[in-house]
């Protein structure tokens, strides 16, 4: 286990190093002069530009810029936003609660939808419930997230008036209103995850259900509920966790779209603004943090296998 962990950690570190390189290169290929963006096209004298250039460290060779940047990032300093001149770290911390709450609710929704439906579909294959599951699963994968979001807004917000179509309330101000404001975004975000998890759960449950130990469990008079949850589900879980973990990584990508559609003041929207205004430090840090989250997620998924299935030994 320790050897495995060490190897896996080393791999993760290499990937992370590559990730920082890509993030850095991304910012290098952004066109437009960030100093010019800072002082504005008019009234910028050559001397003024030079001052800003030195201040931002843009006059140094690229590898020096990279190493300096890397050192600061490791120390927790993500730089200063070119557009708002605020600390990027502060900006992130300010916007993190919405995004985290949205992510958590999205995953909860996905699990609540995927597990019952996936298990039911595997127990009654080729019935109406299985068909419903398949249709939902295909829809989840095929529907652009912003389209699903619009349909939800149209039906549940504009027509029925059950949920707000935009805006956000902090959970510490009013917990219920906060969750209420994020229900539609969470569904739009989590639907893809639900769809793929459901599909995977169905097929791995179908495989497991024909195994002999399930027959044994039934033969010894175990309640069907326990047969399904304790024996079948646990053994079917490994591929499901893989899909779930990988998908949560992809979920983070969907944040941008969902936060824009529902005008939520989260990290996704901040990143889009950074793209539109060519705010290099914010974009760079955002891309970096997202990739970091995804990589750590993958590591956790790998480690979780041994918890689900004690037979797996990492040699």
């Amino acid at each position: 286990m320790t050897a495995f962990l060490a190897r896996r950690l080393a791999q993760t570190l290499i990937t992370l190093f590559m990730v920082t390189l890509i993030s850095f290169v991304l910012s290098m290929i952004l066109p437009g002069d960030p100093t010019l963006a800072l002082v504005g096209p008019e009234g910028a004298t050559k001397e003024m530009l030079e001052v800003y250039r030195t201040e931002l460290g843009l006059d140094q060779p690229i590898y020096v810029q990279y190493l300096k940047w890397l050192g600061r990032v490791i120390g927790g300093d993500l730089g200063v936003s070119i557009r708002t001149r605020a600390q990027v770290t502060t900006l992130f911390v300010q916007r993190l609660p919405v995004t985290l709450e949205l992510l958590v609710l999205g995953v909860i929704f996905a699990i609540l939808l995927a597990f019952p439906l996936g298990i039911m579909a595997s127990l009654r294959p080729n019935t109406w419930i299985d068909t419903t599951g398949t249709v939902l699963a295909v829809s989840g994968v095929a529907m652009p997230q912003f389209f699903l979001a619009m349909v939800l807004i149209l039906v549940f917000s504009l027509w029925l008036g059950w949920f707000p179509s935009s805006g956000y309330v902090e959970p510490w101000k009013h917990l219920w209103r906060s969750i209420n404001s994020l229900i539609l975004p969470a569904i739009s975000l989590g639907f893809v995850v639900a769809a793929e998890t459901m599909r995977q759960l169905r097929s791995s449950m179908l495989e497991v259900l024909h195994d002999e130990y399930i027959q044994t469990a039934r033969a010894k008079g175990l309640k069907e509920f326990l047969v399904i949850t304790k024996h079948a589900l646990r053994n079917a879980l490994i591929p499901v966790v893989t899909v779930l973990g990988l998908r949560i990584g992809r979920l983070i990508g969907g944040l941008v779209i969902i936060e824009v559609v529902f005008s939520l003041p989260g990290i996704g929207q901040m990143l889009l603004n950074a793209v539109l205004f060519k705010d290099m430090p914010v974009l760079q840090s955002g891309v970096l943090l997202v990739a970091l989250a995804v990589t750590v997620m993958n590591l956790l998924v790998d480690i979780s296998y041994s918890l689900i299935d004690p037979r797996i030994r990492y040699g």
């Binding site: 290499i14 990937t15 590559m18 990730v19 390189l21 890509i22 991304l26 290929i29 952004l30 066109p31 080729n126 295909v138 829809s139 994968v141 095929a142 529907m143 652009p144 997230q145 912003f146 389209f147 619009m150 349909v151 807004i153 149209l154 504009l158 097929s203 179908l206 495989e207 990584g249 992809r250 983070i252 990508g253 969907g254 941008v256 779209i257 824009v260 559609v261 990143l271 889009l272 950074a274 793209v275 539109l276 060519k278 974009l283 955002g286 891309v287 997202v290 990739a291 995804v294 990589t295 993958n298």
Partner: protein, 270 residues
């Protein structure tokens, strides 16, 4: 199960054929000029305007048909380039032990970025427009192909006929192109079919966010974005093109799954 698959396959084939007709015969299928402001704004679907009109008074159906052309061009051309880049990387990584670690770690790193993030960051570095969207999607999708090609090529390289070709003095390029690549064709074709659909979704997402196709060119994502502001008064502007995207993607995925089964009879489906 068999008959159900038949139905969905026929329906998907039909849907894609109709859309292909839109793409090829766009000028004849469009009842009106997709850019012309000729009608009462925000009027609901009718016989005159099948999909209604948008906020400026343009015919949504004509814009949808014109958008089909843009979306299909972006989808197929970008996937073609993505496959080309991916095949190249995958083959080189499978053949050269020296470059393997570097290339595949690079692919892993790119893979760590959610597609839309990477696409956004790349889009920011290019002038927005049709060409940029194609480049962005091609780059973002290439790891997908690199992985498929790499994995399969590795096992094919172990086969006897490759050893035989090598023994006969076959060079690297010739070996890869005439002996290895043809054996990968099925896997690549399946991956490409599945990717065109999702590439169209990515294009529409980018256009929706304002970093893809630029107005006034009609693209599905853009039509939906402009309609989004009028959701309450005129939901048809965004909902009908949305259904178009949905049908397209489902059709491509049905087609891809079918190809997978037809091209690989050994594979068991559940």
């Amino acid at each position: 199960m068999r008959t159900k698959r038949r139905y969905s396959l026929w329906l998907s084939g039909l849907a894609l054929t109709v859309l292909a007709v839109f793409v090829v015969f766009e000028p004849w299928v469009c009842p009106y000029d997709p850019l012309a402001i000729d009608f009462v704004p925000l009027s609901p679907p009718s016989l005159k305007n099948l999909f209604g009109t948008d906020e400026l008074g343009r015919d949504v159906f004509s814009r949808f048909v014109a958008g089909t052309r843009i979306s299909f061009i972006v989808g197929t051309v970008s996937v073609f380039f993505a496959a080309t880049i991916g095949i190249l990387i995958g083959l080189v990584a499978a053949y050269s032990k020296k470059l393997r670690a570097l290339l595949m770690r690079m692919i892993d790193a790119i893979w760590a970025f959610p597609m839309i993030m990477l696409a956004l960051a790349l889009a920011a570095s290019l002038e927005p427009g049709l060409g940029s969207v194609i480049i962005v999607i091609a780059v973002v999708y290439s790891p997908l192909f690199a992985r498929v090609v790499y994995g399969q090529a590795l096992s094919i390289m172990e086969r006897d006929f490759v050893a035989a070709a090598r023994a006969l003095g076959c060079g690297a390029v010739r070996l890869l192109l005439t002996h290895v690549l043809p054996n990968l064709a099925a896997a690549i074709l399946v991956q490409a079919t599945l990717s065109v659909g999702t590439a169209i979704v990515l294009e529409s997402s980018l256009s929706f966010l304002g970093v893809g196709i630029q107005p006034p060119t009609p693209s599905w994502g853009l039509i939906m974005q402009s309609g989004y502001r009028w959701l309450e008064q005129a939901h048809w502007i965004s909902i009908l093109p949305g259904i178009g995207i949905y049908v397209t993607v489902v059709s491509y995925s049905v087609l891809g799954d079918w190809l997978r089964i037809v091209l690989d009879p050994k594979q068991v489906t559940t």
